[in-house]
Amino acid sequence: MKSKKLWLITVLLVMLVSCFINVAGAATTLNALYMKQAGYSETDIENITAKFEAKYPGIDVNLIFVPYDALHDKIVTAAATKSRAYDVALIDCIWTPEFARAGFLLDVTKKMAAVNTNDIFEGVLSSVAYGGKYYGMPWLNDTKYLFYNKNILAKAGYKTPPATWDELIQQAKAIKEKGLVEHPIVWSWAQAEAAICDYTALVAGFGGEILDEKGNPCFHQGAGLEVLKFMVKTIKEGLTNPSSKEFLEEDVRRVFSQGEAAFAMNWAYMYNLANDPAESAIAGDAEIAVVPGSKKAVSGSVNGGMGLAVVNSSRNPDLAWEYIQFMAGKEVQIEYSANALPIYISAYDDPRVSGDQPTLASVSEKQYKYVVNRPQVTWYPQLSEILQVEIQKALIGIKSPEDALNTAAEAAKKLKEKNK
């Protein structure tokens, strides 16, 4: 009896001790959270990380990929509970103010002094900055572009893509009348952040803003309202694919790649995939252009810049920063520029960027001049949701654009008061 007990205790002790040995003996592990949507592909990120691991033996980087819409909530729950689940997280430009105020991210202003910020595009740099401080390293330089199917446009008699939204509507009407495609334009207008990206780009293209300099809503008058009327009109006239109301970026890519749309708004990553015969039925016909404008603006697109940040509870912040610097290194960014363009201005002189992708590189250099940020306020997630819901109500037709935006503006004013 006694020996049995002793045996049991010994086994338990051995198990306990081996647990500790395991922890102490293992290589240092970094957990990095990425998204499964647009930008660098999962394989790209895995390959770059593998290079980092080869360069720094003894460091294990554990990659976690989640859909974009789950990314925010994952970071929030991990950072708020200080769970140490992630050391490095991919953050979208619209979250930086919120996360910075909540203290979720490491302030890296001092560390950024070692980085040549003059060589980084301003748009993507602003995506990790808030209140004069930096909370991460810019990493993904992205904005929305206009994509067009040059084969369909040629059949309709157009050689060049539209320069203004009016022109785009004219071309779309001609394409529809000739029966080339049933719904010439496809957008990502589902109740999600994607809808606000399209809306922001349109508002900028119509020469307006969502919030004024003081942070007060002004989307319910002028350009903001014009845009929503424009959106509703294109649905009513059958120019916009009616399923756009439930589409995200990937749905847009599928429809466009099937040749079922002449025009599409999407991030840079679609250019390569829509021209890849394995992924697309229109390989070779997918073209990219600067987003159209209006009489008031040459063009307008939305900043989709994202950064890599160190989560406040990380046990190895310096190592995490080291990893981030590797991921955002100029050489790495040039080498993997197929799905995401580099953040460095000088990288565009490199033949590997401009040579392999002459169109994408030249179009993007033009487009970067006309990129706006979504409102940089700490209450952005709520504002975005209010706008998403009201815009959808107008698109579905249960509210007029005026009513929808007035309701949204009222709610936004209250939200601003509350967050003073």
């Binding site: 819409d69 925010h72 909530d73 929030v76 729950t77 708020a80 919120e98 105020r101 909540a102 203290g103 589902a190 109740q191 999600a192 009616p242 399923s243 109301k245 439930e246 749905d251 599928r254 429809v255 099937q258 079922e260 700490t378 209450w379 997630p381 709520q382 949701e385 998403q388 819901v389 959808q392 109500k393 579905i396 249960i398 967050n419």
Partner: protein, 294 residues
């Protein structure tokens, strides 16, 4: 020689670990949630957490968002539970009959329920896909609709479509439970009713249904609780859209707490949901709780 423990004390010692665990993982979070619901805890503003008393409750109960979500949840519950019961009882009655291959059908019926909700949600999202969905293809090919429909594109239709997915998944549970209930009904009852000249319908309403009452009650309470807590299928299929048309009460709670970091509002909503479910359960037990008499 030590005095042996009394049976009572021994029982207490055995029960203590379980009690400690239950208190720490069930009771403590509940009390903490209640406590949080009286403050204004906003994680984006971690240095200010004022006490607001019943302020959160008032704000939520006076606003339209909560009631809209509640009405949708009740609609979801009523429609999906009635569909599940109508289908579930019918299928259970069929599977209770003696026929060749019954064992196979009985096993097959469980499959939808055994599939994880995440798979079920993705599956139905593809079926309902406006461009490549199987539903559009089927309906146009048999000539019921002329053009492809956007099934998840308008608020009310989307809500009903999510209900379809939920009914498909949860009906098997009702079938299995009712089938188990059916097998406890003594055969003699049907025989004597047959002798007395009662037809199939009469036998169903006067014998089967009353005898199934306890089972129905349990399934009803279970399903009501589940529909009030339905979240994953919404998250996967529609994310609450379009135009908040499928934003049920738990999804609203989730958004407040985890997307907007308004922990107190989330806690308040969680408490309101619990109270609603508790109230409903009491009503059910009172209404259906009479004993079955043989």
């Amino acid at each position: 020689m030590r005095r042996p423990l009394s049976e009572e004390n021994f029982a207490f010692i055995l029960i203590t670990p379980a009690v400690i665990i239950i208190f720490s993982i069930v009771l403590y979070p509940i009390l903490k949630t209640l406590y949080m619901s009286f403050f204004n805890i906003d994680l984006t503003n971690p240095f200010s957490r004022p006490f607001v008393g019943l302020g959160n409750y008032l704000e939520i109960l006076c606003g339209p968002t909560f009631w809209n979500a509640m009405v949708r949840t009740v609609y979801f519950a009523v429609v999906s539970i009635s569909m599940e019961f109508i289908l579930g009882i019918s299928i259970a009655l069929l599977l209770n009959e003696d026929f060749y291959g019954r064992w196979l059908l009985r096993s097959l019926i469980i499959i939808p329920w055994a599939i994880p909700t995440i798979v079920n949600g993705s599956l139905w999202r593809w079926i309902f896909n406006p461009q490549y969905g199987a539903l559009n293809a089927l309906l146009t090919q048999i000539g019921l609709i002329d053009s492809y429909q956007s099934w998840l594109g308008s608020p009310f239709l989307a809500l009903n479509m999510v209900i379809v997915a939920d009914v498909w998944k949860m009906t098997p549970l009702v079938v299995i439970m009712i089938l188990a209930g059916l097998q406890t009904i003594p055969h003699e009852l049907y025989e004597s009713a047959g002798v007395d000249g009662a037809n199939v319908l009469k036998r169903f309403f006067h014998i089967t249904l009353p005898m199934l009452k306890p089972t129905i009650l349990i399934v009803l309470i279970l399903r009501t609780m589940e529909t009030f807590k339905v979240f994953d299928i919404i998250y996967i299929m529609t994310s609450g859209g379009p135009a908040n048309g499928t934003q049920l009460i738990t999804y609203y709670t989730y958004r407040e707490a985890f997307s907007y970091l308004q922990l107190s509002k989330g806690a308040t909503l969680a408490f309101l949901i619990s109270l609603t479910i508790l109230g409903l359960s009491i009503i059910y037990v009172k209404a259906l709780g009479t004993k079955t008499e043989y």
